[in-house]
Amino acid sequence: MKQFNLWKVLLVLFFILLPTTLMAQGLSPILSTDDLVKNLKDPNLVIVDIRKVEDYKAGHIPGAIGVFYNNWAPGKGGLQNEIPADDDMMDLLSANGIQPDSMVVVHGSTGTGPDRVNVTRVAWMLKYAGVQKVSVLSGGIEKWAVREKRELSTDVVRPKAKTYKGKFNKDVLAKKDYVKSQIGKVIIVDTREPAFFSGQQKLPFVAKVGRIKGAVNLPTAQVFDKYPPGEHMEQCCWTYKDAAALKNMATGVVGNDPSKEIIVYCDSGRVASAWWFILSEALGYKNVKLYDGSMEEWTKDETDPIEP
């Protein structure tokens, strides 16, 4: 009889603890709108809308907080998309009630190329700050609102401020000197379009054409698909390719070894964040760093090795 009661107690405990266990696993790094809906009532969920304040106020996913992209990636020292000072970052997280164990879902618009990579840049920034569970919403606000016609709210969410107590994970960042020292030792991935990788084109803020010596090419533009395929953009958005396709693209360039160190870069440290996020968070590569200064910083110094 006593043994039966013990089993009953264990069974009840199992069902009580089950949701907590599932919650601890976090959400899929690349999150579908359906999965977001399933988790909307999770008290640990923080949905971060990184569009401009006026766009957020005009309509956002219910419960989402609005923290514009530029707060996460200010211009600094003549470079774009830089890391905020630690104390400013702490303020930003604390003011928005984000904690290291929060389940953060970052989203914005997918309308333009910069819009699409802004999301992963913020996700990288959160990982840098030590937030453990960070996802990005595939299809962004357009899939949610335009394609799926889901509810939008105009109620501005005022998050409850709470001092952020996470430990910064600066291993996800590669600084210039480090990148220079690792040439020939690690996989350096140029995530720009082939014309930029091959030295035929450059952006105005980059001093010289070319790539970091020894880099391989894995363009970010290829990680997105129009959704639905063939439909005019007014009808929806861009979503991430499925995991199998992303894995196939990645392994063809960086190989299968998840322990191999990889450094990704682009022109200003924004575009490369998409592959950083996919490699590190979605595909399980254990040691991926983002070279934040990227070609904007690299080409300012004549001595930094460039090819071709």
Binding site: K52, V53, Y56, F68, P74, P84, A85
Partner: protein, 345 residues
């Protein structure tokens, strides 16, 4: 596809503005079927004539007719000290009425359609809906060269801390500033009820002692912007003569309106030959400086100056110097140079 000029047909049924048809404001002939005939006498910007709106919104339009947004008097009065009497007359006729005044905002520019700036318009704000406010499309378009991109951080640096917290223009600037209060002010400096940092941030209520001390020490000597402007803002240095140039920068110096106060200065584009095409030499050009105190809209809680006193008192970072002054600029610029003293430790 650009839909900036497509009117929402459903609005025609629900919005009282359309009760008497498009012709009430836009004129033309609604009974004609052919476009050319129907559009004869069409008025593109009906609210340029305030009487269009006055029929129903008399009090607001009466005030607005005297407001600085409508009169643009600030532009004239801000530069007039550079002119002789004769030059001012020429300026009024040839420049102010034909150029500056063309920038005045009509009611529709804020409530229906973005104002055309430099010949470019964003089109209707919300498919011809009469919107109460939409700062990101209206304020941002006219003030998009300097204020707005600095505020959102899109000019470089970080967003203004108020934007970071979700605040838009009208969270600080009240309706009265836009519509006016019925007084024809000569300049925005004369308007009494303007936003001020201290309206919300009362001195003595700082959480940290260091902030309390710093505020107490600098009170009345340095404006809030002087320490809390977060990054470089746009400075226009060679405009109006058929050529223009702008560059980011931050300059600290004496306020031209109050020489005892240190503040952020912005280079304003009136140079010696600005009005030369109109035959105006500016006989008293040196009466006014080229740098003016600017309430930079890129406020941050922490800046390199709030983090370290030495940024100003030792390194003199961003302080306007004689070497930095524009070439062939006003002699009045020299008076704005301020050299901070080292701190007695």
């Amino acid at each position: 596809m650009y839909l900036g000029y497509v009117v929402d047909k459903d609005l025609l049924k629900t919005d009282p503005h359309f009760k008497m048809g498009c012709v009430l404001c836009h004129k033309g002939n609604a009974k004609e079927i052919k476009k050319e005939e129907a559009h004869k006498g069409v008025v593109k910007r009906p609210s340029d004539n305030l009487r269009s709106c006055m029929v129903c919104h008399k009090k607001i339009t009466d005030n607005y007719a005297k407001s600085l947004h409508y009169t643009t008097a600030g532009q004239r009065n801000g530069v007039m000290a550079r002119f002789s009497k004769e030059e001012l007359k020429t300026f009024d006729e040839k420049v102010f009425e034909k150029s500056c005044r063309s920038c005045h905002a009509s009611c529709g520019d804020c409530h229906v359609k973005g104002a055309p700036v430099g010949g470019i318009s964003i089109g209707l704000i919300k498919k011809h809906k009469f919107v109460k406010k939409d700062e990101g499309k209206t304020c941002a378009f006219c003030h998009g060269g300097r204020v707005y991109p600095e505020y959102t951080g899109e000019y470089g640096g970080s967003p203004d801390v108020h934007y970071q917290k979700g605040m838009l223009c009208m969270d600080c600037h009240k309706k009265m500033e836009f519509h006016g209060d019925g007084t024809a002010y000569a300049s925005k400096q004369d308007v009494k009820d303007r936003p001020a940092c201290k309206n919300c941030h009362k001195p003595g209520q700082e959480a940290k002692l260091t902030a309390q001390i710093a505020h107490r020490e600098h009170d009345g000597k340095v404006t809030c912007y002087g320490c809390h402007s977060g990054s470089a803002y746009r400075n226009c240095n060679d405009c109006h003569g058929g050529h223009s140039a702008a560059s980011p920068g931050m300059m600290l110096g004496r306020s031209p309106r109050d020489k005892k106060t240190l503040t952020t200065l912005r280079l304003i584009p009136t140079v010696r030959d600005t009005f030369a095409p109109a035959g105006i030499k500016m006989e008293h050009f040196d009466a006014l400086p080229n740098y003016w105190d600017t309430p930079a809209h890129n406020i941050r809680k922490r800046t390199d100056r709030t983090r370290n006193c030495d940024a100003c008192h030792v390194d003199r970072k961003n302080f306007l110097t004689k070497e930095m002054l524009i070439k062939n600029g006003s002699k009045a610029n020299d008076d704005l140079i301020f050299v901070p003293k080292p701190i007695n430790r």
